[in-house]
Symmetry: C2
Subunit: 332 residues, 2 copies
């Protein structure tokens, strides 16, 4: 059912139908009513694709993700909540494959959809942060850190400080850090927070107790094992994300160490899985939904052509993180 079909049925031209659909002036009330009737009757709905190709305005905001996993879907929920009421529609798109094997997915997805299908885009954890293209873009938690793009992220440093101070406050001194992925901004910042808090407390950081965990279970178990099998074992581990913290608890169990009896563990993110862990994981919560909400607000501003508000010509929203104490930590 195309606009031509409707036009034929209504005995008018396609242009007229288009005008009716889009509420343009210059159509007699009688014609409008008639065409409306036909549209109603046959259930015509204009093709987003064709319309966008021609008019370059779709009223659709795109949220581009590497894949639909717990973190990105939480963000999506946040954007969805923020978008209702703005009159925009939401389109979430995943370039398909695993993020790993698909570097540059953000640029690819953006060129495929941008300029036509969507009026603006939110990029979730993009790696390559090239300057914007055809449409306004906001980045959430970019891997390369704030760039020239408007950005929303969480306070990684502060979160890491909170986690470390929590451990310190519990009397731990010999604390290991299981890092994220080298080259990722969040990874760097969490380590920075860790070191800052340790230094402030006068607790030494044993270089032997700092490892690369890679943010994923497969890459984290090895290093976690090294940490826990260390001759002078740490009494606590701060892992750079929940997934590797949970992996660490698994390793501890294998080694016959009780958590939190023999070992305290803190994670980062507060993904739903962290509550299900045994014991429930103490972690740092990132306000994922709020991040989505902020991104929408920023983007809508941008799309309305609001003047840049930040002094540096870009815009950067940093949301607070907060410590969530559960069962995986205990006083020494």
């Amino acid at each position: 059912m195309t606009i031509t079909d409707v036009a034929r049925l209504a005995g008018v031209s396609a242009a007229t139908v288009s005008k009716v659909v889009n509420g343009r002036y210059g159509v007699s009330a009688r014609t409008v009513e008639h065409v409306r009737g036909v549209i109603e009757e046959v259930g015509y709905e204009s093709s987003l694709v064709a319309r966008s190709l021609r008019s370059h305005r779709t009223n659709v905001i795109g949220i581009l993700v590497a894949e639909f996993e717990p973190f990105s879907t939480e963000i999506i929920k946040g954007t969805a909540a923020a978008i209702s009421g703005t009159g925009y529609e939401l389109l979430a798109y995943s370039g398909g494959g695993r993020a790993e094997e698909d570097a540059g997915w953000e640029r690819r997805s953006l060129s495929r959809l941008g300029g036509t299908l969507i009026d603006g885009a939110i990029l979730v954890t993009p790696t390559v942060v090239g300057a914007a293209g055809a449409v306004p873009v906001v980045a959430i938690d970019p891997h390369a850190g704030p760039s020239d793009l408007p950005t929303v992220d969480a306070d990684n440093v502060r979160g890491a400080v909170l986690a470390t101070e929590h451990l310190l406050g519990l009397g731990h001194r010999r604390i290991a850090f299981l890092g994220g992925r080298p080259g990722l901004e969040s990874s760097r910042l969490r380590e920075e927070g860790f070191r800052t808090a340790m230094a402030a407390a006068g607790a030494p950081v044993d270089p032997d107790l700092v490892r690369v965990g890679g943010y994923r279970p497969q890459t984290a178990t090895g290093p976690a094992h090294e940490l826990l099998a260390h001759p002078d074992r740490p009494s606590a581990v701060f892992a750079a994300n929940d997934v590797s913290a949970i992996a660490t608890m698994g390793v501890a169990r294998e080694l016959g160490l009780s958590v939190p009896g023999d070992l305290s563990v803190v994670g980062f993110d507060n993904v739903p899985e962290s509550v299900l862990a045994e014991p429930p994981l103490t972690t740092v919560s990132q306000p994922m939904q709020a991040m989505g909400t902020s991104a929408v607000q920023l983007l809508v501003q941008l799309m309305n052509g609001s003047p840049e508000t930040a002094p540096d010509g870009g815009t950067h929203v940093r949301l607070p993180t907060e410590l969530v104490v559960r069962g995986s930590t205990r006083a020494l």
Copy 2:
């Protein structure tokens, strides 16, 4: 950056570039290489929109939802997992507004995207289940019940029986039911399961303790309040979905009732949020991710033109539900 730009830069025609991009025969190796080089250099990526308008094949599967809430996002995770490896890409689209005010969103979204942008569609909890249109369609948990469309759903009746029996087994007799939305199949079936189990146990159902919760926080709090403020308060509430169960716990807290001390609460769905609730919610798990996976399998079969396999000419997959006991229920 359009195909014309690339053509100009490469000194060939747009048609030739198209052939290179799509790997068509009839282009000299030398030209292919040269054009590839230019494409690489300028980072050209063909517009999904323009391509789809012309060729009607996009390799994109659409998952159409009324809104991005916990249930639909879990389904999306499942479809995403199932899709990786099939070569398809995933595009999740929400017709924008609140589901309430937007009856018929599924047909609207389908006509807007179908036929051009997506090769097939998965509809999550569609209400109006008109026969398919231009593209193959699979419905997940259709509100009107299995129709002529291939359908994936969970065993609602059995799940509701399990939940009710759990409460009965705990010694509860005065159990309230906070229903879903009238007219929705899942709502009807869950109530049916509730009544069946109550009847089987010889426990009376007080009509005063059966309310419409509407499946959403906003619509559920009112009725939940009525239930809990009832002169002869129930000792347990079975809410037709997790969201309203969580809302019920909120109301209980406001009224100074402790859960599970003064009131046991059971939900339905097992969305991630149910674990995060305080206390963690006892609920009936729908295998949401598995439902998404099944839907993808069904859809891909359909798109490959597989013969209908079910005896009734349609296809219907029903997945089992299961009770998940957490902290919101306690023996009387």
